[in-house]
Amino acid sequence: MTEETGKSFYETGRPGIRGWIFSTDHKRIGLLYLTSMLTFFTVGVCLGLTMRLQLMFPGHSIVPAHVYNSLYTLHGVIMIFLFVIPGLPAVFGNFMLPLMLGAEDVAFPRINLLSWWLFVTGAGLALLTIFFGGLPDTGWTFYAPYSIRSGQNVSLAVFAAFILGFSSILTGLNFVVTIHRLRAKGMGWFKMPLFAWGLYATGWIQILATPVVGITLLLILVERIFHIGLFDPTIGGDPVLYQHLFWIYSHPAVYIMILPAMGAISEIVPTFSRRTIFGYKMIAFSSMAIAIVGYLVWGHHMFTSGMSNTARAVFSLLTFLVAIPTAVKVFNWLATLYKGSIVLQTPLLFALSFIFLFSIGGFTGLIQGALSTDIHLHDTTFIVAHFHYTMFGGTGFAFFGALHYWFPKMFGRMYKEKPAKLGWLLMFLGFNFLYFPLFIAGFMGQPRRYYDYLPKFAVPNLVSTIGSWILVAGLIVLAVNLIRALRFGEKAPANPWKAATLEWETSSPPPLENFVEPPVVTQGPYDFVGKGLVKG
């Protein structure tokens, strides 16, 4: 199974753009997602930069309030629906899952292509709001009754989110069936790589939770178009009902965002420690535990919204419980470093900074899970900092770690190590300068979604804006390094990191059918000794 046995998937299939946008090959679909998502990510970053520029000094506006409101709404919608939710599953799940399972493709290749088309259609509809009726200004949460009264084109944006939901459901369904049905001969459930476990847990959340938000968004449309009182109290609705329905999906959705990221970390840490993962089963089960308990904690977004005091206490307690499986994962990753033979390359730097940043996100989550402290911090920039630590410090760093880990496999080229490390360093420093001050401003009482703020919050906001420049400098270094590698990088061997999972047993990039001969699995996914990758 080396390069000479077959052409790579790039060299087979229909030529030209049609060979890509109508391809049912999971690898091509993965790359389609990668290209479209990185485009959206770039737009989201630019919006974020503009927001930080606006907030650099108090009292000096570069954009008026209504523009700022659309900026942060678009930033949120793009980053959440078009980058973080599809995130790792759509790119690395699509590309790697069949390879890791030793399969030829996902279970339903055509549905897979449909998912991407739905994704692009939803994204296109969201962008249409620029030209028709004005950008939405409600925040990505579309809270009623504001979203019902807003004169902006909320209907189109909501419908776009509805379409995107279907893309997500179909991807989840596809992965769950693939994992059940298409594992290689000999690959029992506990011989599956942990990234596949992460995708499995994610798939179930996508299937079970996403329809709820689909229904909720449709109800907003029904209310806006037919004036049926569902959420607007002036016509007999209840705005708090909307919040419940919204968070019943959107809280599990944060686990859709993080579980595949945790899966990627579980691949990177053992590979670069040159030893088997510590507590395989605990990591696998904790993914499932997070997926299950994650359904029951949505109310912690609503501690000040007027729920009964009992409901608030119950949701607070359940929220603390979801911290446990997360802590278990962190401890197991750390224990995997113990007595290893650690090679500190770029993917591991991203993985370790993931553990650090995600821990800060998790710990500050405890502060918000506790009732009395959350009452103070709710809807302040403390929350903004918290979810950027989990979503960007967590999923974002895992995404870039995964990109650097699987880049040789996907493109058949090696990137340069030194610029990648420099890019990581700038990104890591910039990230902390950007978001940590927001914890302080939030504790001081600066509410979020403010286009201007009181002078007493000036210092943390200035530091934060400067941090955003450092972060973007890091992103540029990383991007230039990877784009350069696409053309000029050294040819990648089949297994540059000496990893033990199946995707590294085929050539880089893989042939169209993935494996020349269907693999038969006899060892565990991290059995470096059994595969002769390290001395035992």
């Binding site: 821990s359 506790a370 009732l371 009395s372 103070h376």
Partner: protein
Amino acid sequence: MAAAGHPRNPAAWLKALGVVILLAVAGVLVEMVVGVNRYSDFGAQVDHTFWMIVLIAALLLGGIVVFMVYCLVVYRHDRVEVPVQVEGNWWLEFWWTVIPVVIVLGMFWAGYEGFRNMRTVPKNAMKVKVLARMWSWEFEYENGVHSNVLKVPVGTPVRLTLTSADVIHSFYIPHFRVKEDCVPGREGYMWFKADEVDTYTVMCAEYCGDGHAKMMTNVVSLPREAFEEWLRSAAEEKKAMEEPVAEELSPEEKERKMAAAGEKLYNVKGCAACHSVDGSPRLGPSFKGIYGKKVRVMTGGKAREVLVDDAYLTKSMKTPTADVVEGFQPVMPPQNLTDAEIEKINTFIKSLK
């Protein structure tokens, strides 16, 4: 393996408990350095919980980082050629599941305790109704006095009943560590006790549109007597305001009284949030000198010119988005005002030459 660890079980429990207690004590110490919140009744309690969790988190995070760096140094590839393949350890898994459970239950309890105090209103609390609207606050006292600043007597518990006239807002006093949403069609509640004579910022914490960031007012805590005095005079002023303007007054005098009443309404009803009286544009056009002028407005997407008179002003309060002055966003919500109130406000606007 299970049997070997069993005798240590109770000791480890005690140890874990000891650690938690130690951390709680350390939390208090941190707080002494950072400073205790003395502004309100539960400020100190909230901060105490906050710093306790921060401290436990900092210690755990420190542990994580130290262990990570230790491994990176000691087990780096050029030092260790042959790694040890450790598959796991069920006792470790057990302990690092159980100890975090104990820790987070402690945190839950601390948060719940503070919360219970926040939600248990003392029986003798003074009652004030809060009406939030885009983008101002209106406070109504039990004797019917309306104000756009929340004046309270120091050291007295105050119970707020919260609701909204339009979309969801959130009443937030950062110094007092309290917040609760104002939901249209519902009544929420919260309470606080200001412990020092001072002025504290109130902010809206739930996004509510273009004026969200400017939807602020103050809690002003006054000595008991000063508060009583203010409440009494405000009640008298209100009474005088409500009396019909005496017929026998000269037209100028009548107009002056109406304008004064209009100015009061301009402040209380929240007009001031978006319309200045000094010529500077805010979210809406300034009222200064606008009466009797011709302005360009957008009517259903088409520009036209209208004269600002009583009829136009009245229409602009009842259906604000019908004719929007050019250069401004159609964001003003319809105002729930009586005809008498509108007349007074119109007279006030007219007086701003």
